[in-house]
């Protein structure tokens, strides 16, 4: 009821803008404090993230990962589950992609490999989420603990597999052999260059569109199917879910598997899209950042998409800043990221309540006249 009186642009533009601005002002102070020029840094950052096509490509490439992990957190969250295991699920999802590619790249064309790789990512990611989900649903083991543990186990498993089974023979490097081209997710720039469009060499690839499709899919699934209805009921009122005859254990398990599958798609972008070989540590914190992405995006696909772009820009812009201003170390960029999460995520109400109150009062006053 309250929201109705507040103009839409206030909520979707003004308030987020204020929050981000404040985050950047504080970041500027930090940068200033270590003797660097914050304005210059901001310039590099914005230019690096959005200023030219290649930079945009990188931003989108990072955003792809964040969309996947953000959606993964979101789906589970909607069912009242806190999936902190996106990291491990992404890692194992990548393993699935890698195995499909390694098995088929010599014999099959891309058209065959791509859907199988998607299935591989989904199945492996889902499988890694299945055990915690099962234990939560049937044994009451707290999902936060089990998913934390599964993140660690995923790392050990991957090192074991890479070192003992999957490592390429050529050198010390812990990569599998490089896939044949048939198992490469096409880059957008290779797709566009025949059309005469040059967008520079960036790693953004077809996975980005798959991520967009997933956004849409999650939106449909969660808000427009009965399955989504069930999971949202479970998430907001478990007693009502029982009353409604919803099999809560089953929904819990399936939700977590969908969540794991979504996280697993990170492997698509990283393994098939960019690295073209199986390797260690490609999940690189995307799973954890996905938590912030999902919550900042208000657990809605559109919000998640926007938050993912923001984080993609921070990653890419951050790399550019430290490239051009070596004194701005990657660690400062991490601080900036944290401040953005703090001010536009955790402190989102700081301005919101006041500004909304202002508009509501104005609307009410107008009504009375």
């Amino acid at each position: 009821m309250n929201q109705a009186k507040v103009p839409v642009w206030v909520n979707i533009a003004l308030i987020p803008l204020l929050n981000i601005t404040l985050a950047f002002v504080i970041s500027g102070l930090v940068i200033y404090a270590i003797g660097q020029n914050p304005i210059e840094a901001a310039g590099y950052m914005i230019y690096g993230a959005f200023g030219y096509s290649e930079g945009i490509g990188y931003t989108l490439y990072y955003a792809t990962n964040f969309i996947f992990t953000g959606l993964a957190v979101c789906v589970a969250f909607k069912a009242g589950l806190f999936n902190i295991g996106g990291e491990g699920q992404a890692y194992i999802g990548g393993l699935g992609v890698g195995l499909v590619c390694l098995a088929l790249d010599h014999t099959m064309p891309f058209i065959v490999i791509a859907p199988l790789a998607i299935i591989g990512a989904a199945v492996f990611g889902a499988a890694w989420a299945y055990v915690p989900a099962y234990l939560q649903a049937r044994r009451g083991s707290h999902i936060v603990i089990t998913t934390i543990m599964f993140n660690f186990i995923a790392s050990s498993l991957m090192v074991y597999l890479m070192v003992n089974w999957l490592k390429g023979t050529q050198n010390m490097s812990l990569n599998s052999r490089t896939f044949e081209h048939s198992a490469w997710m096409p880059y957008l720039h290779t797709l566009l260059s025949p059309l005469g469009i040059d967008i520079g060499d960036s790693p953004v690839n077809l996975s980005f569109f798959w991520a967009l499709l997933c956004c849409f899919g999650v939106w449909l699934l969660v808000w427009h199917t009965r399955w989504g209805y069930q999971l949202r009921t479970l998430g907001t009122n478990p007693t009502a879910a029982k009353y409604a005859g919803i099999d809560t254990a089953k929904v819990t398990i399936w939700v977590m598997m969908v969540s794991g599958a979504l996280a697993g798609f990170v492997g698509l972008n990283e393994i098939m899209g960019v690295n073209h070989s199986l390797l260690l540590n490609f999940a690189a914190g995307y799973g954890f950042t996905g938590i912030a992405v999902a919550l900042m995006g208000r657990n809605h696909p559109i919000g998640i998409f926007l938050a993912a772009i923001l984080f993609g820009a921070l990653y890419q812009g951050g790399a550019e800043v430290s490239f051009d201003m070596p004194q701005i170390t990657p660690d400062i960029v991490v601080v900036v990221q944290g401040l953005v999460i703090l001010f536009s995520g955790a402190l989102e109400h700081m301005f919101k309540d006041r500004i909304e109150g202002f508009f509501i009062r104005r609307a009410a006053a107008a009504q009375e006249k």
């Binding site: 083991s141 074991y160 601080v335 944290g338 401040l339 703090l342």
Partner: protein, 322 residues
């Protein structure tokens, strides 16, 4: 065999100490209804501040004070976001962890020019092992001699502090006015509010206590267990503490046992590396590494049953009911 056991238990004590401190910190916070995923960040922040101050002022005690100050400051940020501005607890926690991860290295580089590390600490800059009275004399007494002189004696003061904090926490939570209110506010803040108690101030006090304990945990890492700060040296201990907190169902003594279990499993895993199992050959080191996690999961699934946290945990307090 007996010696090995004692040594493993000794390692358990060392490794569990910061977990216990951090998990008890989390207990105060979560009992008050504030989810604290930023234990990790507070430990790291305090580890840095403690090592930095200790290096500069030459005293581990001053380091400890600064560690606590840093950690409490972070706790207040968390409180400001979650209590005052009803922000999402998890987002705030993630934010704090991220900020600290970057900030410690940035400041370290800026101040010490050692690549984000603090100078190595020595002597008074560290908390050193304390030998309890008669530890040497008791050494040769069968069974208990070993336990006393090798297991109980010979730790630094923060280890003893960690273990003393368990009964102290129990006492505070169950036997004092503050504890009663603390437990109440995590279950039903409305009840606390209508009883004429400020929910905000109560929760702030809880997160500050949390900050103090995390501060000690961080100082332990950099000025007692190790001798200096290294980037990301908390290495996920905050998350393990959180897991222990849930494992111990938000109760001080079970939480301590959960921490000891994690510590013990770690000690076991360390010993088991390279062990050859007849018939199977050498167990891959990665399997041994995962052992603590796998065992934890099995225990959780087998015996612990459902862990139900404080009812209002993670939910911002708004006066009108949902």
């Amino acid at each position: 065999m007996y010696d090995t056991l004692i040594q493993m238990l000794d390692a358990t004590v060392r490794v569990s100490a910061p977990l216990i401190l951090a998990a008890l910190a989390g207990l105060f916070s979560e009992r008050a209804g504030i989810v604290d995923i930023s234990l990790e960040g507070k430990i790291l922040g305090s580890a840095f501040a403690a090592a930095a101050a200790s290096a500069v002022f030459g005293s581990a005690w001053i380091g400890l004070v600064f560690g606590i100050i840093a950690s409490v400051a972070l706790a207040l940020i968390h409180g400001f976001a979650c209590i005052t501005h009803r922000g999402d607890h998890i987002v705030s926690g993630v934010a704090i962890n991220t900020i600290v991860a970057g900030m410690t290295v940035t400041l370290g580089l800026h101040w010490f020019h050692l690549g984000g590390q603090t100078p190595a600490l020595s002597g008074d800059q560290r908390f050193l092992a304390i030998t309890l009275p008669f530890a040497h004399a008791m050494q040769d007494v069968p069974v208990i001699g070993q336990i006393y002189s090798n297991l109980i004696s010979g730790h630094n003061i923060l280890v003893y502090l960690a273990f003393i904090m368990v009964p102290v926490t129990y006492w505070i939570v169950y036997k004092t006015r503050f504890g009663l209110r603390l437990r109440a506010v995590g279950e039903n803040p409305h009840a606390v509010d209508t009883a004429g108690i400020s929910v905000t101030w109560l929760r702030y006090r809880a997160v500050m206590v949390c900050g103090v304990l995390c501060g000690v945990a961080g100082a332990y890492l950099s000025t007692a267990h190790n001798a200096g700060f290294l980037k990301n040296m908390s290495a996920g201990q905050g998350y393990m503490a959180l897991a222990a907190l849930i494992f111990g169902k938000w109760r001080p003594v079970p939480v301590m046992f959960a921490c000891l279990l994690f510590g013990f499993l770690n000690a076991v895993a360390v010993r088991l590396q390279g062990v050859i199992i007849p018939g199977l050959g050498e167990v891959p080191v990665q399997a041994i590494e995962s052992l603590p996690y796998v065992l934890t999961i099995l225990l959780l699934a087998g015996f612990i049953g459902k862990a139900v946290g404080p009812k209002a945990v993670g939910r911002p307090y708004v006066k009108e009911r949902a």
